[in-house]
Amino acid sequence: MLEATATKPVDILLVEDNPGDVDLARDALEDGKINNRLHVVTDGEAAMAFLRKQAQYQQAPRPDLILLDLNLPKKDGIEVLAEIKGDDSLKRIPVVILTTSQAEEDILKSYNLHANCYLTKPLHVGQFFSLVKSIESFWLSIVVLPPHGDPQ
């Protein structure tokens, strides 16, 4: 567990349209203990292109973790979630919903589509940092991530 993370950097895909939140997340993750590479896309279509290595993302790595905002232009987060979890080659990648919405319908929809967990962005910036660090520590050092092999 700990030995594996020390060598190979973990690839995180952040799907977020708000540059302010992108910077905050980047800040928080850079500050963290785990070696990671943050990739950012700003809308749902780009997210799918990245995951499918299409268009300008042909060299893109397969992310170990996806942080997904729901409120996105073009294709929204729920649609992206549905596509990821509906795709045999992508569905194993843990998807963490990170959004402002506390609406019950969003929470239900997300879990119904098999989001791995749902987090609401806190108001205070300090709390936001703690949250991102918790995500990092839980998903990247405590949890055993699935291997990259072929889909079953």
Partner: protein, 449 residues
């Protein structure tokens, strides 16, 4: 009448008898006419033997009695014919003057009779209707239903339940009606004919349609409101987070370059943003009272109060507060909202306390006028000036600065909205410096629950 008939018979006999007598006693009559007798009676009964006389009197009496009996019979016949006719006239008058329409048909559905009301209802003449089949008057889609009702209810049971259908008027327009169909049987109990009382329900139908339309519009409006509230709050939260997050970061990361004044500015900015976020959340909560309100059910007020107390545990412990209550009744309410009301009122009581640990007492009394219960949440806090008694229920209206007592001013507006949703009232009585009692009414639970 009787007497006249009797006399007639008597007279008839007398004449017949006289003729017979004349024939038998014509000699005597001739004698009588030409030679007046000394005694009338003798001349009348001249040479009539006693048995003969006796027979004659008996026969006469018999005829008189028979005559009177026959007369009575005839009279009675005439009387009952009279009565029948009178009753017939009364019935027909009633029939015609009834507002409700009446129609009669044979077992095949051919119309045999109807009243003016029925004819008017359909804009046709009675004569025309008597040539028609009830199917001619009924739109296609109702025929199967009606046939089934006749088969399953009218023929076996003699009458149907009240059912609805439509009739076609002369001008082609459709009239919604409700009716009950009855069966007429002959002496042997076999179905002979059917009749129905038909009522025009177009007013009622229009009312129902209007009500449904209004309900649908209300539902749509509620949904719109909810959507708006959700989108607005969602979209408003993000920019606010940016403002508060980055001003905080500014303060943190550029602390060295900032003086006290700058830090104060930043603090105001951050506070403003945070308060805005809370306000948006509160507005959402308020809008959800209607749109997310559960149906009103029988609820025990005691447990609802206990839940509110549990939710306020931290604050109760912190202030050393003492909460007491009388036994509380069953009400017709949304349980979660009831808990919210108790919680908001008690939260206020705890917040606006005096120096000593606050006492809160919750009680209830029957309120016959309101048809339910009047609850009281009484505290010994700082009290409220009478002139503000109405103002404080207005959303966001506060009586203190944020520095004195923090809060958005939504608690009481929320309580008011919830109580109004339950068709109750909320008000307060207070003595500044001594305490406040908030009163609110809720409907009683139906008996038997």
């Amino acid at each position: 009448m009787v007497i006249a008939a009797a006399l007639l018979f008597g007279l008839l006999f007398w004449v017949v008898d006289g003729l017979v007598d004349y024939y038998k006693y014509r000699e005597h009559v001739r004698f009588l006419i030409f030679k007046a007798p000394e005694n009338i009676l003798d001349s009348l009964f001249l040479n009539v033997s006693t048995p003969d006389l006796f027979a004659r009197i008996t026969l006469m009496a018999t005829c008189l009695i028979a005559g009177s009996l026959l007369a009575r019979l005839l009279h009675r016949q005439m009387e009952s014919a009279e009565a029948l006719r009178a009753s017939e006239i009364r019935y027909r008058r009633l029939h015609e003057s009834m507002r409700d329409a009446f129609v009669q048909m044979d077992m095949q559905g051919r119309i045999t009779d109807c009243n003016t009301a029925f004819a008017q209802m359909l804009g046709r003449s009675m004569a025309q209707l008597r040539t028609m089949h009830q199917e001619d008057l009924t739109p296609e889609m109702w025929r199967a239903l009606e046939a089934r009702i006749i088969q399953e209810q009218v023929v076996p049971g003699g009458k149907s339940d009240v059912y609805e259908k439509e009739l076609i008027r002369d001008d082609g327009s459709i009239l919604p009606v409700e009716l009950r169909t009855f069966l007429i049987t002959d002496e042997g109990g076999h179905p002979m004919a059917m009749w129905a009382i038909v009522r025009d329900i177009s007013e009622r139908k229009r009312g129902e349609r209007e009500r449904e339309a209004a309900l649908a519009a209300l539902k749509r409006s509620n949904e719109d409101l909810q959507r708006f509230a959700y989108v607005a709050s969602h979209d408003l939260q993000e920019p606010l987070r940016m403002v508060s997050s980055y001003t905080s970061l500014l303060a943190e990361r550029y602390a060295a370059q900032l003086d006290d004044q700058a830090r104060k500015y930043i603090r105001y900015a951050v506070d403003g943003a945070l308060r805005m976020q809370t306000l948006i959340r509160d507005l959402l909560t308020l809008s959800r009272v209607e749109t997310r309100g559960a149906g009103l059910q029988t609820v025990e007020a005691g447990p609802a109060l206990n839940k509110a107390i549990a939710n306020l545990k931290a604050m109760i412990d912190e202030t050393g507060a003492k909460i007491s209550n009388d036994p509380l009744p069953r009400v017709q309410a949304d349980e979660a909202q009831m808990t919210a009301v108790f919680q908001n009122l008690m939260h206020n009581s705890l917040k606006f306390r005096r120096a000593t640990p606050p006492h809160i007492h919750v009680s209830a009394a029957a309120d016959r006028e309101a048809g339910g219960w009047r609850f009281a949440v009484q505290d010994d806090g700082i009290g409220i000036d009478a002139q503000y008694a109405d103002k404080i229920f207005v959303i966001f209206k506060r009586l203190h600065t944020q520095a004195e007592y923090p809060g958005t001013g939504i608690g009481l507006a929320l309580c008011k909205r919830i109580i109004e949703r339950h068709r109750g009232r909320i008000w307060l009585e207070s003595v500044p410096g001594q305490g406040t009692t908030f009163y609110f009414t809720l409907p009683a639970a139906p008996i038997g629950d």
